[in-house]
């Protein structure tokens, strides 16, 4: 009787997890236009002036002609951890485009860890976050050479946006 009970509960838990997994996969397959608003600067329009100024300061002339990738990250998000681990270990190909990390109010330790990656970093006090309407992280945005938002995606795969 006990074995049957345990098996029943196990099957129930496994089925629940499988259902949740299927729902997640379905939502990931939906085009970004029908998903919920993920925030970020509007695609095809000029990025907020404050962001462009900060990027100019972070990467200078390096971004001219090639555009720049911007990754908005926070300390506690799982996908951000994965993104940071991948880009700091060079596991993602960015097609030669410079990457800039934007962290919102990073703790001292997080800031130090970000600086150790040698990837240009902007420590934001909330203004950039607000201007860029960041609602989810990690938000990866590609800004073209004219300062327009060419593409954006909430993903840990920076190379998917590069």
């Amino acid at each position: 009787v006990i074995v049957n009970e345990v098996l029943q509960w196990t099957v129930l838990v496994v089925l629940t997890l499988l259902t949740l997994g299927v729902l997640r996969q379905v939502s990931l397959m939906l085009p970004s236009t029908v998903r919920g608003d993920e925030g970020g600067p509007s695609t095809g329009r000029h990025a907020p002036a404050r962001l462009l100024r900060e990027l100019e300061g972070a990467v200078g002339d390096a971004a001219r002609g090639r555009g720049v990738l911007v990754a908005f990250v926070t300390e506690n998000c799982v996908a951000c951890q994965r993104l940071l681990a991948d880009v700091s270990a060079g596991r993602q190909k960015l097609n030669g485009q410079p990457l800039v990390l934007v962290a919102q109010r990073p703790s001292d330790q997080f800031r130090t860890a970000l600086e150790e990656t040698r990837i240009p970093m902007i420590a934001d006090e909330g203004d950039l976050w607000h201007d860029c309407r960041v609602a989810s992280t990690p938000l990866v945005v590609r800004i073209d050479e004219k300062g327009r938002t060419a593409m954006k995606e909430v993903t840990h795969r920076v190379d998917a946006v590069a």
């Binding site: 006990i2 009970e5 345990v6 509960w9 997640r24 990931l28 608003d37 925030g39 600067p41 509007s42 329009r45 000029h46 990025a47 907020p48 002036a49 462009l52 100024r53 990027l55 100019e56 971004a63 001219r64 555009g67 720049v68 926070t74 300390e75 506690n76 998000c77 799982v78 996908a79 951000c80 951890q81 994965r82 940071l84 681990a85 991948d86 270990a89 703790s107 001292d108 330790q109 997080f110 130090t112 860890a113 607000h130 201007d131 860029c132 309407r133 960041v134 609602a135 989810s136 992280t137 990690p138 938000l139 800004i143 050479e145 004219k146 300062g147 909430v154 993903t155 840990h156």
Partner: protein, 202 residues
């Protein structure tokens, strides 16, 4: 009889908590991102040996899960010791304002020092109960009690995190699997970015 069922429930609850803990660590190790876990960002030494430390902790979690199932007389004290050790390791995360210790796969995550302490004191008490009066049979009778204990624990953590004035009330909330999503208030407050009038370029 009721007491034994509650103790069995404590055993189920502790086992579930350590399963969550192991899943959290396994997922982080799988993504090769141990060095970026909030618990590892606390000090350069932890960061340097993050993968080894997290692997060791994962093995300890798995050992406690097995011991709680087959040898609760040892599993109880081992669980208590591990809870105490994790509490000591996680406290600095909240004192440096990181927001969350990212413990227990977000399901029983604490966003404030008080919630962390409250949750872990309860877990320690459960481990103590298992140690003092464990049952040799792994009965299913306590399963419902275990589920009840976990729900109560989740409510306690949520309540402590949501106290007025708590920093957690301004933290970003989880969007499972895809990162973090801002709270409804933050979204409502967020105005659409106004394009630069002069169309600034890089």
């Amino acid at each position: 009889m009721l007491t034994m069922s509650v103790v069995e429930g404590a055993r189920w609850a502790l086992t579930a908590v350590f399963v969550l803990s192991a899943v959290e660590k396994g997922q982080t190790l799988w993504a090769r991102s141990a060095a970026w876990h909030p618990l590892m960002l606390v000090s350069p030494t932890r960061r340097r040996y993050a993968t080894a430390l997290m692997s060791a902790a994962l093995i300890a979690d798995l050992a406690v899960i097995v011991l709680l199932a087959v040898l609760p007389a040892i599993g109880g004290p081992a669980a208590g010791a591990l809870v105490a050790a994790y509490t000591w390791l996680a406290l600095p995360v909240h004192s440096r304002g990181a927001g969350s210790c990212r413990c227990l796969w977000k399901l029983l995550d604490s966003k404030t020092r008080l919630a962390l302490l409250g949750r872990n004191v309860v877990l320690f008490a459960l481990a103590l109960a298992v140690t003092l009066s464990w049952s040799s049979t792994a009965g299913v009778a306590g399963f419902a009690y275990g589920a009840g204990l976990l729900v109560g624990l989740a409510a306690l953590v949520a309540g402590l995190d949501a106290r007025p004035g708590s920093p957690a009330t301004t933290q970003r909330q989880a969007s499972p699997g895809r990162g973090e999503r801002a709270s409804g208030d933050e979204l409502a407050d967020a105005a659409y970015a106004t394009p630069s009038p002069r169309g600034g370029t890089l």
